[in-house]
């Protein structure tokens, strides 16, 4: 049941991304509304899919690799919609739909088997820690997308050679604001994710911090974002430098999520 819902939402995400892409390249404005509507449908279906999965497995569906990436994609969509509700950033949806689609494709190719949860990890810390951490990642993903858009737009304005992006991307100011907003929401959430994680570790394994690879990399990521936030809010960095830092830090997020799981062994369960 949940599998069918998942396949359905992937297909609709694909449609939405295609509509957005055609709109972006051909500048056909009516298609943007279509893309947005399709994205919303896919998102709702995805939500139902996650609920169904939770009912099927009997625990919060953020344990296996498939579940985590799928939830990550969902949180990116959620952050985007929450952001869109407050500000509009021209054509951000194009980039978000592409990111969500690629995450969903990654999830689609991962094993969908239900990983039985070891009794040690059965705790209400699981939904709290995992969902907070992934929501933080959602906002940080938006910051990264904003950073990429900023760099693309800035390069065209600086070099005075106007190509594909100049007319299609929003103003530098709007993109910088997007980064500001996402960092100021994402970073505290990320910190909270770390803290709840260590409480969970205390409960499950008896110590707050183990220095296992996942924890270490989370800390590295945290320091990268701390640097970005510090430079941004106290030194007054903005624009290009913060954009680059946001992108680098997000790569670190992705590495924490996947690289650590596949390259380095650790206590986080879904490594198997």
């Amino acid at each position: 049941m949940s599998f069918l819902l998942f396949q359905g939402s992937v297909a609709i995400y694909l449609l939405s991304a295609a509509a957005y892409l055609v709109f972006f390249l051909a500048q056909k404005t009516p298609l943007r509304r279509t893309g947005r509507a399709i994205f919303l449908v896919a998102f709702l279906l995805h939500t139902v899919n996650i609920i169904a999965r939770a009912v099927e497995t009997g625990h919060t569906p953020i344990t296996s690799h498939h579940e985590t990436v799928s939830f990550f994609a969902w949180s990116v969509g959620c952050c985007y919609l929450s952001f869109r509700w407050r500000y509009t950033v021209k054509n951000l949806g194009v980039f978000v739909s592409l990111l969500v689609l690629s995450l969903m494709l990654v999830a689609a190719f991962a094993s969908r088997g239900v990983v039985p949860l070891p009794p040690a990890l059965q705790s209400w810390w699981l939904p709290v820690h995992a969902s907070i951490a992934l929501f933080a990642d959602g906002f940080l993903a938006l910051a990264c997308i904003g950073g990429i858009m900023y760099l693309l737009q800035e390069r065209e304005i600086k070099s005075k050679r106007f190509g594909l992006f100049y007319s299609r991307l929003p103003s530098l100011e709007a993109l910088d604001k997007l980064n500001h907003h996402c960092l100021s929401v994402g970073f505290p959430l990320f910190t909270l994710g770390l803290i709840t994680g260590s409480f969970w570790a205390k409960q499950a394994w008896g110590a707050y911090w183990h220095w296992d690879p996942k924890e270490t990399w989370s800390l590295v990521t945290w320091f990268l974002y701390a640097a970005a936030v510090h430079q941004r809010f106290t030194v007054g960095w903005r624009g290009r430098r913060v954009a680059i830092l946001s992108i680098v830090a997000f790569l670190s997020v992705l590495f924490t999520l996947w690289g650590v799981s596949f390259l380095l062994k650790g206590v986080h369960t879904y490594v198997s």
Binding site: S171, G236, R240
Partner: protein, 430 residues
């Protein structure tokens, strides 16, 4: 009783190579050529426009062929041969002339379609014509109409909204950098015409404040007053950089007035809020290396030209809509012109009726000049009222949209009814 013909002769950048245009250009200003045209007996009213891309003369006359020949000989005869004139000079008569004038005024015939400067040049040329009194009833009307057509085109199409000229391009860029311009501050360094134009567009976008820095403070103060702004001296330039966001530089200075090393510490003070420099001076005022700084953007006049080029195709679409407006206005004006044909008849008719009333009054009450002031004024009013009332049905008949009988026939009817042409009334047309 036909009216005068409206004729337009000219060369522009589309029909004529630069080499020929240069020879025809009226470099000595308007006075002299307008005086020359005054010698042509055939012309009733005339006006002359000369810009770097076009030379046009507009006049009204009775005998189109003769007048045309004389004007060409007089203005361009010495510069180029008759064959060249034949090949390059375009001639428009009546409706076509009106349409062409509207197209020029609306900047649809310009090299950069939509640029706003042409309207100013047109008004300037018209001012010269009115100064020597060479424009009359018809030209006044058609030129004023062309101004309002230009305005209509500008407000009803986005032909002007699309970075149509350098200053628009600058505003467009500023919007890509700052997003909303409300609350941003602009500084003009040096007070050239281009800088003023750009500042005007920025003020139209809602910028918060305009600061003017100039070598002579008096000029700065005057200009600042136009925008409710502030004037500062050129020495304060560096301090001001902390507070403003957009800098438009157009001084006549032969050297650079601002270097990269001057701007770098300012950015720290500004906490990296972006700065947008626009350098429209030739030679340049600002060090090109300034563009290498983070969050600082520097555009010089050539860079802006490339932005203008990029916006061209979008503008061509708007040009189509603008042309529709011109065609519409041309039709309206054509109607007005046609009605013009009846004007002499109307004046004459009123004159005849008033003459009759006046002579009957004088027969009964004695000569007007001998009456006391109050009685005379009362009678004058009465004469005017009776004239109006008697003439009214005939005037309505002439003016109304009557599709069955042509205006020409209607005029003929009225003239026959009132015997306006046989001189028996003893009244001459004024």
């Amino acid at each position: 009783m036909s009216r005068d013909a409206i004729v337009l002769l000219g060369v522009n950048h589309k029909t004529t190579p630069l080499a020929v245009r240069e020879k025809l250009a009226l470099s000595a200003g308007y006075e002299e050529p307008l005086q020359l045209l005054g010698q042509v007996q055939e012309l009733r009213e005339y006006y002359l426009l000369s810009t770097c891309n076009r030379v046009e003369v507009l006049f009204t006359c009775r005998d189109v062929e003769r007048a045309q020949q004389r004007v060409l000989d007089l203005l361009f005869g010495q510069a180029v041969t008759a064959e060249e004139l034949d090949r390059y000079v375009y001639r428009y008569v009546n409706d076509a002339a009106v349409e062409h004038l509207f197209l020029v005024a609306a900047s649809l015939d310009s090299m950069i379609v939509g640029e706003a400067q042409i309207l100013g040049q047109l008004k300037e040329a018209y001012r010269h014509a009115t100064k020597i009194g060479s424009s009359g009833f018809i030209l006044n009307k058609v030129l004023h109409k062309s101004f309002s057509v230009a305005k209509r085109v500008r407000t009803e199409t986005r032909i002007g909204a699309n970075a149509v000229s350098i200053s628009y391009a600058a505003v467009e860029l500023a919007r890509k950098i700052f997003g909303d311009l409300a609350g941003k501050k602009v500084m003009l360094v040096g007070a050239g015409e281009m800088a003023e134009l750009a500042a005007e567009h920025l003020v139209g976008q809602g910028v918060a404040e305009v600061v003017v820095a100039n070598r002579t403070l008096q000029r700065a103060v005057n200009l600042a007053r136009c925008y409710n702004g502030r004037a500062v001296s050129l020495e304060e330039l560096l301090d001001q950089l902390q507070h403003v966001d957009i800098i438009i530089s157009s001084t006549g200075s032969p050297d650079l007035i601002l270097h990269k090393e001057d701007v770098r510490p300012v950015m720290r003070e500004r906490r990296n809020r972006p700065l947008f420099f626009i350098d429209i001076a030739v030679p340049r005022d600002l060090d090109p290396a300034i563009n290498d700084l983070d969050n600082v953007y520097l555009y010089d006049i050539d860079d802006l030209h490339s932005v203008v080029e990029m916006n061209k195709s979008e503008r061509d679409k708007e040009a189509l809509r603008a042309q529709r407006i011109v065609a519409e206005e041309k039709l309206k004006f054509g109607k007005w012109l046609a009605n013009m044909e009846s004007t002499p008849t109307i004046i004459q008719l009123r004159g005849v009726i008033e003459g009759h009333v006046r002579s009957e009054v004088e027969k009964t009450l004695g000569r007007f000049e001998e009456m006391d002031e109050q009685a005379r004024q009362g009678l004058e009013k009465m004469v005017a009222a009776i004239t109006g009332k008697i003439a009214y049905p005939s005037l309505q008949y002439l003016k109304s949209e009557n599709h069955c009988v042509s205006l020409h026939d209607r005029i003929k009817t009225i003239r026959e009814m009132y015997q306006l042409d046989n001189g028996a009334n003893g009244q001459e047309a004024p």
